[in-house]
Every structure is written in structure tokens, then in C-alpha cells.
Symmetry: C2
Subunit: 632 residues, 2 copies
């Protein structure tokens, strides 16, 4: 049992853990930083919007149907309880950051009370099965999402406990968890949607109650033995086609796969299960070696919201679900803590600043469920999972509250600790305050990251600590400077052991030129194209920035010409744009000409903007991967 401190994922002292998290309250993010705008927007706009939509969509009323306060039929998706639980988790983390938020506190208390009232005497809590299908309780786990919803309830309780903001939801979640332990410890059953695994391990970490961990391990090991009815979607979709320990490829529904892998790592580190951790590493290699978008997103197929075959990474039909991006962030966080491997921090940074950040509109109240890398000219946008612009809510509303809970816990991912000291993993302006060996440590960080790679740190402590500074994977290590001098990072970190006492100031320079990124030759979908990046940010071209009459698909980039970093963009909310040299190439060739295509070519200098900001000015075509002119 660990001393509860606010923040997601707190391995026990006995766990396999190269690194330890700091409480999310240890990092105070500067208001005027990019993260600061995200945090404030999440608190002021997204979280209240989620609460409001839970009411509007009937998710709260479903629980009130259980208590008898509301009449009528169950509304919305059968797993809509999970939207309530995720919003509750978000509220808990947010209250750790801003305990004075009275309205949010009221939501948390009211909702916790409602959950307590809606809970069955035996601990069961699921409004859909209680209201609409009581006789089917636990009987259709391949599609019921009962343990999935329970998992999100438990995660909300863990957050409430660690944030110290609500004992009632903890009581409710434990009662339900105890029922689940009773029900599933002797029966070979798993849920069609993983989530319960990581939740049970986290509840074990909060409570020290070993049966939770044992059941999580049991659920992991029961998968892949065909226990689930494969009707409709099949065993791969349900993550039931191969035991995790034998799997060598991520497959099926991306969110299911990635949530499962988060639980796999949690189980592995708490049970010292090297085989399981090795499976997670193997699957990580597969996912990030051949099935990840340049934005960090996962899921190549709309069909089944699924991973594709190796190198099947279409830009236009990228499913790239927001929840899968969040799940990848969560999985990589667990992998980072377990292994200390810098690549996990790199992936967290990439997916956060591109796929995740891009899913929310500047107003904080419109969202993408799917995050394509190319919206074509002529896209009809008639489908909810492939709209032409962000929507305020979704029939399947998993993503918005998931964003809210991630953003509310964001400061918890910036810095880690180990026995030697601290590691700055994700850069943001702000202040870090913690203790090392009982000695207070304070690190002030001044930076315009991710718009500029200069990071000024001032460290004040009496602790003999080694400060690790992550050198991002996108950065050429030979160009990095510390106080103007070249550095020699080891395993992706610059490790500084100094005499900190007086408050030592230093300046880390991570050069951020515009970079022209290529796809691996096996990625057919973007062959002959380049992507433009700068620092951790992927850029894109929007129709909004092209001259009238230019079709986006006719734009080419000259990859041999310099890309200019433009800090006076004149575009609202776009601090840094790129100015690109290219052409517009048009043809009247037939669809499949039998000779090399002749094109008219006109030169064009065009603007690229950060991908995460696309679609905020006006809806329209967009693409990340831009065909290279034949000049290369």
C-alpha cells in the first residue's frame, strides 16, 4: 500500500519501477504556456461542457432511473455510465489542482451520492443492466461493457482518493470491486472491453487489498482463450484471439488493445512478471515500429476502429481515435515508469501535442472522435465518425470526458523521480516543487516550449540530486547546448549532478528547425510525400491558407528548398507557422493513364500550421503528408 498522492499510476514500493511519478500537484504549469492554456481551458470550458452534456444526453438520468427519481426508458449508449465515471475522474484530478472550484465540487459530491444511491445492495452498479436488462447481468460480457464501466468507476474512485476529494465514491467503487472479486475469481469470464485490469491494479495500489491485483492478473491471463462470444466483431476485435504472453502483434480494436496493455504493464510490475512485461515490450515494438501515425495516433481502420496490417497507415482514412491516443499516452506512461526508456516519453510527447491536442477545438467544447491526417477535397462528412469538423458531442461519447480526465492530470506527467534524483520528461514553463530524500527541491522552468526549444531552469535544493533532462527523440543530440556547450546525453537524458545549493541557473537549448520527415518505404499510403515538423509538433496544410482556386491535392512541396519558420504568422492562435516552397501541379490526365502524367506547374509559397490547431478557423480540406514535387 502506497501513500496516496494525487496522480494517475502510483506503483507500490514493491513494484518493478525504474522511475516513480511525482504528485500532479508537484508541477505548477505556467498560465501563459501552451499547457497552461490547455489546463485552463479544460477547467473552464471542457469539464463544465462534459457535465452539461452528461445531463443533456441522459447519462445522469439513467442513474436516476435506477434510484426511481426519473421515469422512462434508458437513454443513450448502454455503456453511458462510463461517461459519468470519466467525468468524475476528471473532476477529482481537477479538484486536486483547483480545490476551490465550488461547482465542480458540487458535481462530484452530487454524483457520488447518486452513484451510492443507485448501487444495488450487493454492490452492483450499472444503470443499463439494472434498468433495461436486469436478467442479463454478467450474461453477455462480450458486449455488455459492465466491467469496462466498473473499471472507469474504480479509476474515478482512485482519483478521488488520491486527490483527497471524496470518500463516498471510494466506498461505492470498493463495494462494486468486492462484488466483482466474488463473482469472477472462480469463473472463467472476461469483459469484451478491457479497462478493468488497470483499474483493479490501481485500486490495489490505493487500498493494499491483494485480491484486486490477483483478479487483474487473472483477467489478463484469461484473455486469448476464446472465452468471449465472437458474434458481430470477432475474437481479434475483442482481444480474445491470442494470450497476451504469446502475442506478437497489436491488433483489433485499438482502444481495447491499448487499454489492455496498460493493465498488462500494471499487473507485470506489481507481480514481478518478466514474461508479461516482455510481451508488452514486444507489442510496443510492433505498434511503434509499423502501426503508428506521425501524429502518434493509432488505428488505421474505420471498420472495427482497429489497428491495420503492418505499414497500413492511410492518412485520409486514419481512424486515429482520440481515446486510442489517450490510451497510448497512458500505456507509454506505465512503460516509462517501468523501464525508464526515454522512447516512451518521446511517444507521450508526440501523441499529446498532435493527436490528442488536435482532437479538441480552440473553444474547448468541440471534439474529434477520429483524427485523420488528410481531409480530402470533396469529403462528404456525413458520418459522425468522419465529420468535416469537430462536433460538440457524440452518440458514443467516450472521447470528450477522456480528454477531460487526461488534461486535468497533465501536470502529473511532466517529471519523474528515481533514487538518484529527478527527470524532466515533458517540458513546460512552470515550477516543480517536491522533496528528494526529505529535502525540498524547487525547479523553476522558463520556456516557450513547444514554440521554442530554449529551456531555462533554476534549481534550488540542498539535496544531492541528479537532474535528468530528456533530450527529445526529434532533436539532433549533437546540436543540443547547455549554457552554450555541447552535451553528451546518455540513453536520451542529459544527467546533471551539481552542487545545487545556491539556486543554479542553466539554459538548455534544444534546436527547433523545421524538419522534413519521410515515411518508411513500406507505408504505401503516403509514398512520395513528406511531413513537416518542428520540435514535437507535426504541421499540416489547410485549405484556409491556400489561394482561392487552388485544390489542396494539387499542392506539392519542394523538399530541397528551405522551410522558413515564421513567428509573425498573423494567424489567430498560431504562434509559429512554416512557410513552404512548392508548386501547384494540375493535370487533365485520365484516372489511369498509360504514360507518365504531364502536369502544369506553378510555383507557390504556402503556409503550414500546427496539426493540432487545424480546423479552428474554418472547416475545409487539410493534409499532413504533402506530395513532394518531382524535383527531389
Amino acid at each position: 500500500m502506497t501513500e496516496s498522492v494525487p496522480g494517475p499510476v502510483q506503483p507500490t514500493a514493491d513494484a518493478v519501477a525504474a522511475l516513480r511519478p511525482l504528485p500532479l500537484t508537484a508541477t505548477t504549469v505556467a498560465d501563459d504556456s501552451l499547457w497552461g492554456t490547455w489546463l485552463r481551458r479544460n477547467a473552464a470550458r471542457t469539464l463544465p461542457h462534459c457535465v452539461s452534456q452528461l445531463h443533456a444526453a441522459g447519462a445522469i438520468d439513467n442513474l436516476r432511473r435506477v434510484t426511481g427519481e426519473v421515469d422512462g426508458e434508458f437513454q443513450n449508449m448502454w455503456f453511458a455510465d462510463s461517461d459519468v465515471h470519466k467525468t468524475l475522474e476528471a473532476a477529482a484530478w481537477q479538484l486536486a489542482l483547483t480545490p476551490e472550484d465550488v461547482e465542480l465540487r458540487a458535481f462530484l459530491d452530487t454524483t457520488a451520492a447518486l452513484l451510492a444511491k443507485a448501487q444495488d445492495v450487493d454492490g452492483y452498479l450499472n444503470s443499463y443492466y439494472t434498468v433495461a436488462k436486469p436478467e442479463q447481468r454478467w450474461q453477455e460480457l462480450h458486449k455488455s461493457h459492465e466491467l469496462y464501466c466498473a473499471g472507469h468507476l474504480i479509476q474515478a474512485a482512485v482519483a478521488a482518493d488520491r486527490a483527497g476529494v471524496g470518500a463516498e465514491v471510494v466506498t461505492v467503487a470498493r463495494r462494486f470491486a468486492d462484488l466483482i472479486v466474488d463473482r469472477f475469481t472462480e469463473v472463467d469470464d472476461v469483459d469484451g472491453h478491457p479497462e478493468i485490469e488497470t483499474a483493479l491494479v490501481e485500486l490495489y495500489r490505493v487500498t493494499g487489498h491483494r485480491p484486486y491485483l490477483d483478479l487483474a492478473k487473472r483477467f489478463v491471463d484469461l484473455r486469448g482463450h476464446g472465452l468471449l462470444n465472437p458474434e458481430h466483431f470477432g475474437a481479434v476485435y475483442l482481444q480474445d484471439h491470442v494470450p497476451v504472453r504469446q502475442a506478437d502483434a497489436v491488433a483489433g480494436h485499438a482502444v481495447r488493445q491499448l487499454y489492455l496493455l496498460a493493465g498488462v504493464v500494471d499487473v507485470a510490475v506489481e507481480t514481478h512478471d518478466d514474461e508479461l512485461l516482455a510481451a508488452a515490450r514486444r507489442l510496443w515494438d510492433d505498434a511503434f515500429g509499423a502501426k503508428t501515425y506521425v501524429t502518434g495516433a493509432h488505428g488505421s481502420r474505420h471498420r472495427d476502429e482497429a489497428f491495420g496490417d503492418p505499414y497500413e497507415l492511410p492518412a485520409d482514412r486514419a481512424y486515429a481515435e482520440t481515446c486510442a491516443a489517450i490510451a497510448s499516452f497512458q500505456w507509454n506512461w506505465r512503460m516509462l515508469l517501468a523501464t525508464g526508456d526515454v522512447r516512451h516519453a518521446d511517444e507521450m510527447e508526440r501523441v499529446l501535442h498532435n493527436a490528442i491536442a488536435g482532437s479538441t477545438a480552440s473553444d474547448g467544447q468541440h471534439f474529434f472522435y477520429s483524427n485523420p491526417l488528410h481531409l480530402r477535397t470533396g469529403h462528404d462528412g456525413s458520418h459522425e465518425d468522419a465529420p468535416s469538423q469537430r462536433l460538440p458531442w457524440y452518440t458514443c461519447a467516450c472521447c470528450p470526458p477522456n480528454l477531460a480526465r487526461l488534461m486535468a492530470s497533465l501536470p502529473g506527467y511532466a517529471v519523474t523521480a528515481d533514487d538518484s534524483g529527478l527527470q524532466v520528461q515533458l517540458y513546460t514553463a512552470g515550477e516543480i516543487e517536491t522533496t528528494v530524500d526529505g529535502e525540498p527541491v524547487r525547479i523553476a522552468v522558463r520556456t516557450e516550449y513547444p514554440w521554442d526549444g530554449r529551456v531555462e531552469l533554476t534549481v534550488t535544493t540542498d539535496a544531492p540530486l541528479t537532474l535528468g533532462l530528456r533530450i527529445p527523440g526529434w532533436c539532433a543530440a549533437e546540436d543540443v547546448r547547455l549554457d552554450g556547450e555541447p552535451v553528451e546525453p546518455v540513453d536520451g537524458y542529459l544527467r546533471l549532478r551539481r552542487d545545487w545549493k545556491p539556486g543554479v541557473a542553466m539554459t538548455l537549448d534544444l534546436p527547433m528547425p523545421a524538419r522534413v520527415v519521410r515515411p518508411h518505404p513500406r507505408i504505401d499510403a503516403v509514398r512520395g510525400c513528406v511531413a513537416l515538423t518542428r520540435g514535437p509538433l507535426v504541421y499540416c496544410v489547410e485549405q484556409a491558407d491556400l489561394p482561392d482556386g487552388v485544390i489542396l491535392e494539387d499542392v506539392r512541396v519542394d523538399p530541397s528548398a528551405p522551410v522558413v519558420v515564421n513567428r509573425a504568422t498573423g494567424l489567430p492562435d498560431v504562434p509559429v507557422a512554416l512557410t513552404v516552397t512548392g508548386t501547384v501541379q494540375a493535370t487533365d490526365a485520365p484516372l489511369y493513364p498509360a504514360a507518365p502524367v504531364e502536369e502544369t506547374t506553378e510555383s507557390l509559397a504556402f503556409t503550414a500550421v500546427p496539426y493540432f490547431l487545424w480546423g479552428n478557423r474554418k472547416p475545409g480540406p487539410m493534409r499532413v503528408w504533402i506530395p513532394a514535387a518531382a524535383t527531389e
Copy 2:
């Protein structure tokens, strides 16, 4: 009312029709031609297999449940009656070709009697709604497929009538059609799956009963006004998002869109509706200008089995449903008859010899539902709609009986007539026997087409006829020779008016070099790739023909090197292969390198085989579009 002659689509004498069909019995296909092998295989293998599977899958028993002969719950898909009807249609056409087929005749008679017995007193006939949901008759047309099934029943009846092989099924179909006229003439309702439209026009052609035509027109005009409940799939999928007359883009479920367009042309030509025909032309331009695969297939998305955005044509995730290919063939046949535009014959040839032909295994008893142009290394093949090899049957079994009915009517599409004479549209070895102005005409065709472009024709007649010979779109007209002399085709046809009396022999040479085809630059999915074709055939590379250890995705073609036509292939059932000069290029680059990728290159001469024959030797990766080596 037209004199019934066997063959699909018989416009009335009053219809807008640039061309007229010949009866399918007018063309006798040579047994040893490619078409001959298809026809014999269809009769000997596919049709009996379909009959057997109708029993095995429970489709026949469903009808017997209606008659009380069988107990138990309805089996299979709710529209499984249509599989019976399509097989019945296939049997009718086949009996026109081979009337001595006793077993097939027995199937037709038995099934017609069963249908008659299963028909309700009021004429209604649908086993699912009668057995499982009697109270829902006509109440859930967005998903019921009742009129879709009725349409296939009517098409079977039309075939039986024209083939002169069964009056009973005609009686059944007319009774049902009369009920449908009664039910729908005053009510604003349409079916979620088009098919009834073309069927009713064809029934009008057979019977001369005008209400059938009027209702078909009514169904066409009622679409696009939001009459259908869009639950689950949406209005675009259901072809209910825009009136046909206003539509400018093919969209949604490809089979629904293409079946609808077949009916649209039928209605337009019989009612002299220029606006409707113009809409069909406009949608044809959209479909074939930006949404057609090089194999002639349609449907870019597994999600919704749907058309994609313009130029969204992924090779690996091509849905390219077999039924959509058949529907395109049927639509183009109607467009060809209406307009005489040679491009429709070109598209019929392309889709027949590639997408359609490739959907059936050499054994005639395994089928693809989806026909991708790239099966990746590492493809998991776990989904029924994206298997790694052809399957004997499908849960949704629409495609195999659809293939059977098309193949059984194939000779009907070879030749057309107009007032000036005859037009050879699709080349096959065989004999054409018909009359022109009452005079017998006999044309003997000797050719190895599509393996060779030499076509020897001997014409015997006293009729003063103009013989049109189609010069295929894949063929460079300047290279065509007739008896060794250059020709001057007009609008895609070489039109010969000669004194035929003595029996005139001539030799048409359509040169068939291997061709290197490029994609339009807006087709991102295959940028930098080429496809190899020869004559009407698209070729592909199979893993089966690569040296051990070579990954298909690492193979490159040198588009500047000659492609050798190889007639001594040594491969079973592959008369002509291509030998291609290329390379194997491998790299250990990361997924998204920030510098041009360095590859090791080894030269490789490899074999390409006709796409329609892929997957017949052993399962494995395959691709049509091959990346071009950078040497180009």
C-alpha cells in the same frame, strides 16, 4: 411489350435505345476460350455449389418454414430469400444455354413450386417477415430488404420468361408485383436497398403492364427525400440523401448506388426522361472519373461497403465488392444500350476480366466478397470481408449467386444491334448467329482473346449490314490493323460496310503489348507506383512467384525497362505472364525518418500474373500497384 428473347435487359421498341441486345443464345462461346471455361465452370461447378449452399445455409428451409414443411427458427440473414431468387435467375439463363440440364431444371421447377406454395394469399412472399416478423411487414423498409428480395424474385421471373423455362415463377412474381403496386402506388415509401426499380421495369418489358414501370419511376423519384429511417447507417448509405436528378456524386453503399443507377437508366429510357438519363451520365462521370479501381471495381471503404471521397482509392483496403462489380457491369450495359457510348463497353470489359473474374477461384467454388488490390505481408485475414483467400460461402451470401447469374447470361453481352447492323462489343472466340432485317447472319470468330489481340472474323449473310468492331480503350488506335492495314475508328468502333455474301474473312489485330499504367496524381494511395496491364487484363505480383525471403512490399519495378510478355509461363492456368525488371529495396530506417531513406538495392526479375488468377496456387500477399524504383 417486347417479344421475349433470352437475355437481361430488353428495352421496348419505344425506349430510348441507341443499341439493342441480341438474345444470349445468339452467341455460342467456344469451349476452349476463356469465356468458355468460365461458362462451363459456372454450369458445372458454381451453380450446383450455389444450390447446395442454399440448402446448407438454410435459405430453402426458410421458405419451407412458411409452407409448414420445416420447423424451427428462421436461419441466416433476413434477406436470404434473395440468394434463392438469384440462383433461380442463374438457373433460368443457364437453361436457355443448356436446356438439357435435368438437375438444374429440377431445381428450377422445385423451387418455383416452393415459392408458389410459400406465397401468401394476397401475393406477399418473404420468408423472414412471414416466419419471424409478420406484424412488421412493410413497416421497417429502411432495413427490411422486402422490396430488394421482391426485385430479385422478379428478375428471376423475367429470366424464366425470356428463357421460356418456367411459367410458375412468373405467376408468383406477378402476383407479388401486383401487390406491391397496390401497396406502394399511393404511399410514399421506398426500400433501403434499391433493386426493385430495375426489376419492375424489366417486368414491364416482359408483360407490357404499365403500372410496373410507373411504380419504378415513382420509387426512383421518391428517393432522396429522407423517407427512410437513417438509424445505424445514415441517409447516404441508404441512397436517400439527395434526389437522383440533383445528385452529382456517387456515394454511400456501392451496391445500393449502382443497383439504383441501373434502375434509373431503365426508367429513363422507357419514359423518355432526358433529365434522369443526364443524371445517370453525370454520376457515371463521377464514378469513373475519380472513384473506380484499375480493376474496374468500386467501393473504397469497408465501413458501409461504400464509395469514398474523390481519388480515395486505397489498394489494400479496397472493398471492391463482387456485387458492386457486377452492378457496375449491369449499369454499363444499360448505359451502352441507351447511348451507344463505347466507354461503357470498355468498362464492362475491364470489370468483367478483372474484378469480377478474380472473385471466383479456379475451382468455381470459392469466392471473394471483397477484392482488394493489395494483400499485405502480415495480413491477419481474420474478418470474413477481408480474408486472406477465397471462401466457399459467406454469412451474407449475396456475391456467389450474383456471379452465377451474371456468368450464365454472359453470351448476351457480346454483341449488340442497331438499324445499321451489328456491333461486336466484347471479344470472345465463338459464333454469332442472328438475323438482320429478316436475313440470317452468321459470324464466326476465331481468337485467343484476351491472351492475344488477333481476332479473325468470317461473316456470312445476305443482309446489307454494317459490322461495328469495338476498338478497346486500352488499345492504341494507331496500332490497330485490319488485314494488315491501318484503320480509322469512329467513336471507338471500326465500322465496316461490305458485300458480305460470299462469307468474308478478315483479321483484326489489336496489339497487346505489356503496358505500364500510372495513377492520377491525386490518388495518394498508389502514388509512385505503376500497374502492369496487357489487353484488358490487369496484372499483379504474388508472393508465390517471389524468391524465398523477399518481402513483397520491398519489390520495386523499373518502369523504364521493357516488360517481357511470357507465353511459356510454366504456371498452371496462366497462359500469359509478364516478366518484369526491378529491384528489391530494403531499409532499416525508422517509421518516420528525418532524412531521405537509404535502401539496399538488389536487382530482381520477377513475374506478374493476371490479377483475376491470383490466390489460386497458394494463399499469400499480392499487389497490383508496384512501387517504381527511383530510377524513373
